[in-house]
Amino acid sequence: MQVNSYLFGDLIVEQEKIIQFPEGVFGFPDKRRYILVEKEESFPISWLQCLDDPYLSFAVINPFLVFSDYKVVLDNQDCEYLELNESEGAMILSIMILPEDLNKSTINLQAPLIINIQKRLGRQVILSNQKYPYRHPVFFDCEEDNNCETTG
């Protein structure tokens, strides 16, 4: 199929690349089919482009690339829902807010997207066992480091 996405123009989508979110994501319950668009020039940020709405896309990132101490503990319900078992690892992505000033970008650590890659099945979960914020700055350390360098 083909989707004329707002951010990326025409995208040819192979059927097996489609990721189903049967419940949608929070706030968009009826938007259920997505693809992951990976652009070399925006690495490590990828894009979750909705196929049901060409205007809907989310900037996403592997949260473990940014935060070494991030932990996702899924409850049994989520594992069963996503048909995850020990041999089938899950892909975990966090949605970002990218404002005009990209230095002020934030990452949603409280509600990651969990995707069973083999089954192309996803769900956004709200982590209740950890007190992660849904709006955490991404680049705070860089700024501090830069300050250190300039003052040092």
Partner: protein, 85 residues
């Protein structure tokens, strides 16, 4: 809104599948237990609303110079950071 009166350890059942039981009644709060099928997620409403709102804001990313992102991370992707709580 349907209003029902329940005592401790009494339950209501919704749509044949969802059971809500009053487990404990305190001074300012009550503890409820919910038995629901896997396909029915249950969240605290204020948390649910906040995450919906966050997703809506995240979906507003429109005009974007994608190339500037790469440079942004290039300066600081050597060392990972700790989450600030």
């Amino acid at each position: 809104m349907l209003i029902l009166t329940r005592k401790k350890e009494e339950t209501i059942i919704i749509d044949n599948t969802i059971e809500v039981t009053i487990l404990h009644i305190g001074k300012d709060q009550i503890k409820i237990g919910i038995n629901a099928p896997l396909s029915i997620p249950v969240y605290r409403k204020e948390v649910y609303d906040a995450i919906c709102n966050e997703n809506r804001q995240a979906s507003q990313t429109k005009c974007l110079d994608i190339k500037s992102i790469h440079g942004l991370f290039a300066g600081c992707n050597n060392k990972k950071k700790s989450i600030k709580l």
